[in-house]
Symmetry: D3
Subunit: 124 residues, 6 copies
């Protein structure tokens, strides 16, 4: 983690910490439907007829037009891990913007801010 | 158009006829914002950092999770034109189903029905 | 009603007939919350700090971005009754298109088709 | 099926026929994520800490506020099978109306129309 | 209020304080439509053909699939007051998850976190 | 800026600072579709068949029923600049509440809070 980006990293670290803590608490409840859904959610993004990169872009744009910041952050993290470029993220987002309209813009702002955080973190 | 699929073809033909007639009527109004938006909507799916196939899949899944049957039909037509396979459409749709939940299912049923129409039409 | 527009008039007549028949059936149930909500729904569009025309445009755009064809039709009928012009309807709709994105387009097509029906009916 | 309600029964029969035909076509595709989701969708409404009647009402109201007519129809059919009364359906719907607003009304109209169809069919 | 949960209690206290302060400010405006809607919103959850527990679960799931954290928190507070159990809340939420899809998960995380806060507060 | 409202002003200042910083970062990317959409978004609210006040109210209500706090804030700022009154804002919002239902209330609370901030700032 970079010395240049302590704040950005902290924001992402906080997101991850809450996400992982609550996922543990939810799964520990042993509700069959919830736990199977969580497992299935993981399976949906595995390589098949479409590769993982394409699937993560699909998850990203679905999250963007449905305007869920946490889902967008999650898929941006995964997109960064899969090596997608800033240009690819912007082009996918531009489709989300056209399909979903100006109501998507505040989420696009936060998404771009997150992506810059991810780039800083990776660049460290 | 196939002799085997007159009904399917008619449904798609009707969709296209209404879409084109109304687009003409809307554009003839010469509302600058509307007309520029329509032009931009076309540009968003042109090849760039992402190829056309990927962009059409992004348009498809955005339409599916936002539950717009006409938008889904439009992108399925484009996906067929771009040579995407039934497996690729199903995998993209499976992500739409996981992200959007069971509320997506009625739209998935109509999407699969449309895709079969498109396959029949092309197979002719 | 015009001799030139029997089909358009029938489509609107059908919408009205179903709407009125079901409203009667719903109100006859005497569910206090439902009946008061229906009454309040009427009050919301009465003249006050804003005039009726502006309020109908607000109802129209809210219906458009939430993508409810029946609600759009209802407000278009009211807009026509209040004397709003085709240009005013298009400008309001252009904001709906920008805010809500291309997912609004199929609803815009049907809205413009309805408005043309209303113009034909009035022009008779 | 009643002699008095051939039209109502036909509408429901058509809904069921399409639903079942497309479910078969979708499941035959053997997409693991889709098929597991369909199975899980069935499990979610089985009796547990909450009884089946309550779960069907939850499915109904979720469908109503998300404005999915087919989902509403499906849960109304299930509610009828579970013996829920017209009053119970109306009270649940009144909460859907308050939470979701007037945009829900067109779906409420169709829901009440469906429920009356179901009552006619059962009354035969 | 428990010594063990000062942070949780503070979060809920803050939510309540803002909610009550703004409700007072809104109602003081004396807008007839707004004030009647607020009154009606309260009436919708009173016992009738359905009991209060069921109605609060309906409000909870409607809020969850529409992804409104504040509405979810409000109904969780009411569910706690009505004595609903953690298992009942989880089963209702599992239906929300299936109907609304993975986009509901971030809201489910916050809902479970809130519920644990409520349990800590009550357990004090 | 008023001495009486340092906190309110700071909240708005923060909103503006993030909005402007991210807009610059987004536009600097030179994605043709995104940049043209941003330009078009500005054009949509210019005077034409409808005046600017009416257009800002349309933008406000569209944002309210789609439940986007940042979009609501932006249009409230513009409404204040255009000299719209508290009564006009409340009446427009009351239509948003009726159309969108109780799910709109948390956004209405924040909108009214923002409007009071704007009044304090202007009153200084």
């Amino acid at each position: 983690m970079s010395d240049d980006a302590p704040e950005a990293s902290r924001a992402l670290a906080e997101f991850r910490e809450f996400r992982e803590r609550m996922n543990r608490e939810i799964l520990a409840e042993n509700n069959l439907v919830v736990n199977r859904f969580f497992a299935l959610d993981g399976r949906a993004y595995e390589a098949g007829a479409l590769d993982v990169k394409t699937k993560e872009l699909l998850g990203l744009i679905a999250s963007l037009v449905l305007r869920c910041d946490d889902c967008v952050t999650y898929h941006l993290v995964r997109c960064a891990e899969e090596g997608l470029t800033r240009d690819e993220i912007f082009e996918a987002s531009s489709i989300g913007l056209i399909v979903g309209g100006s109501i998507v813009i505040p989420h696009l702002r936060r998404a771009v801010d997150r992506w810059s955080e991810l780039e800083q973190t990776r660049g460290a």
